[in-house]
Symmetry: C2
Subunit: 180 residues, 2 copies
């Protein structure tokens, strides 16, 4: 009988200003991310066999996402109304789901996935952190201060992490890897 | 004639959660700071001949401040009502001033000070950053996420910094030094 390891690594990936904003002011998306962070993100995403994100993130990034669909990485979009996006659905490449985060991870494991990236936005990070579903959180810390924007977590909490690794992506961008 | 160098180094020092909060929830002060950060802070403060902070910070930390008064470091408290604190005034050790940040720095330079630490809270950091009065910003980044609390800067801005140095104060606390 074959032993099947049921653990799937789940890693949150985020880019943030020094003062903790994951958007610049009320600008949607991460247009503020440095070139170095964008290159890192696209490279590292290739090491995951699935990723999840919210429907707002899908709508902002959809042209890039639709151009890069691949069976090597299932993109799962969390939405209360998956039927609304039926036209975009590409089984095993791009799917829409109303499952909660926990059920969704169970489903991905069942389908044999081993490494899942959680890509935001704020609501999705908040759910995964609050429900303790992340093994690691990777933060690209840009050397900028915005004063306003969306926050990583939208509710009061006190989460303690462990610093696992830190390095520079370029002169002014740090990559900080934390375990949860 | 003696040439007098009129530059005074002005360095903001702050401890922050990973999600950019300088207080934990609505708890005043920095009781959340790690032992390593507190040790660093007390050690590094000795390298400054003056420091400024807001009156709320004074009220929170006053017992420690009053125990440690010294002519080696002038503590200047920014308040709209300095007369209210006349009983606490110790010339050259602890003074209260209604001067704006810029005028206050000019006054400190005039008195021969060479290195000034800006210690918060949020309003004070905001004023010094908005008026571009800091040469450097040092952030102790604790491996914690709070979800709510006071932010470093209380108004929309887009400040770009340069990463100058980064190191760990202990396993989970990073010290990041930025130039402005």
């Amino acid at each position: 009988m074959m032993y099947r390891n049921s653990h799937m690594e789940v890693i949150g990936i985020v880019v943030s200003s020094l003062d903790g904003y994951i958007t610049m002011h009320d600008e949607e998306g991460v247009g503020f991310a440095s070139e170095a962070d964008q290159q890192f993100f696209h490279k590292v995403l290739k090491t995951f066999d699935c990723c999840v994100f919210g429907v707002k993130t899908f709508l902002i990034a959809q042209s890039g996402i639709l151009r890069n669909l691949s069976e090597e990485r299932l993109r799962l979009v969390l939405t209360r109304n998956p039927e609304k996006y039926a036209d975009y659905q590409h089984p095993n490449m791009l799917e829409f789901s109303a499952l909660g985060p926990k059920e969704m991870l169970t489903e991905l494991k069942r389908r044999g996935k081993t490494r899942c990236a959680v890509l935001g936005g704020a609501e999705v990070y908040t759910q995964f952190l609050a429900q303790q579903l992340l093994d690691e959180l990777w933060i690209s810390l840009e050397a900028r201060i915005f004063g306003t924007g969306k926050k990583l977590v939208a509710e009061e909490c006190d989460i303690r992490l462990e610093l696992k690794e830190f390095l520079t992506l370029d002169r002014n961008t740090l990559l900080l890897k934390y375990s949860l």
